[in-house]
């Protein structure tokens, strides 16, 4: 299995760069994963990533984009619950990129 180097320690990832074990995740690893996606993490990014991790913890799945936008809007406010806002943060797909950085598996139904 491939791995990536995070400040000197090896972390296992799959062929697409998703973390092999979600329990390995921490903020340093997230920052390293974000670098591979060319995303610079701001508080707004963390807000979405933390939300996704909580969602996964509760439901054991990463939500589809449609579900994510609706849920973010409800939790963080209408101005954030739209795909424009989320795509600005994660240009290559909010669900896909935010899940990857959050150490979660690829969302079900994500192509």
């Amino acid at each position: 299995m491939p791995s990536m180097d995070v400040n000197g320690s090896e972390v296992e990832v799959d062929e697409e760069g998703y973390l092999a074990d979600i329990n390995d995740w921490n903020r340093e690893i997230a920052t390293a994963l974000a670098e591979t996606e060319e995303v610079e993490l701001t508080d707004s990014h963390w807000e979405v990533i933390d939300f996704l991790r909580e969602y996964y913890d509760e439901y054991q799945i990463a939500p589809a984009v449609r579900v994510l936008t609706k849920a973010i809007g409800k939790k963080l406010g209408k101005d954030k619950g739209n795909s424009k806002y989320l795509y600005e943060l994660f240009p290559y797909g909010p669900a896909k990129q935010a899940c990857k950085i959050g150490g979660l598996p690829k969302p079900t139904g994500c192509i």
Binding site: E58, Y59, Q60, I61, P63, A64, R66, V67, K70, A71, T108, G109
Partner: protein, 135 residues
Amino acid sequence: MSDIKKFLYVNRRAPYGTVYALESLEVVLIGAAFDQDVSLVFMDDGVFQLKKDQNSEASGMKNFSPTFNALGDYDVNKIYVEKESLEARGMTMDDLMALTYEDEDDDWAEKSSMHLVSADEVRDLMEESEVVLSF
């Protein structure tokens, strides 16, 4: 917008031991992206899939039952449970997870997705559905 079809997913197997139950749930979640009219029926050993407080540790499979709670977010809110199957296993609706959804047309009021139906009603559901997928 293309035609909306009535889909019925029939779940008849125990949650663990085979991958049918999990696969069915994944297909439902993926299919939900296509805005179809989706109903789920649980019968035979399939009723165990909705059992409360599952612990799948001994089976070596991940306990995916919390995912059923996400169905409401995916606008899947017609969950039918066959009465005869429940009774044959000494169970009632109180043994099952109380799945809910928020009704967009009613100020997001939380409503139950769970419906207890007889075998005859299950037959009617199958008859009126355009696509029936059995797992």
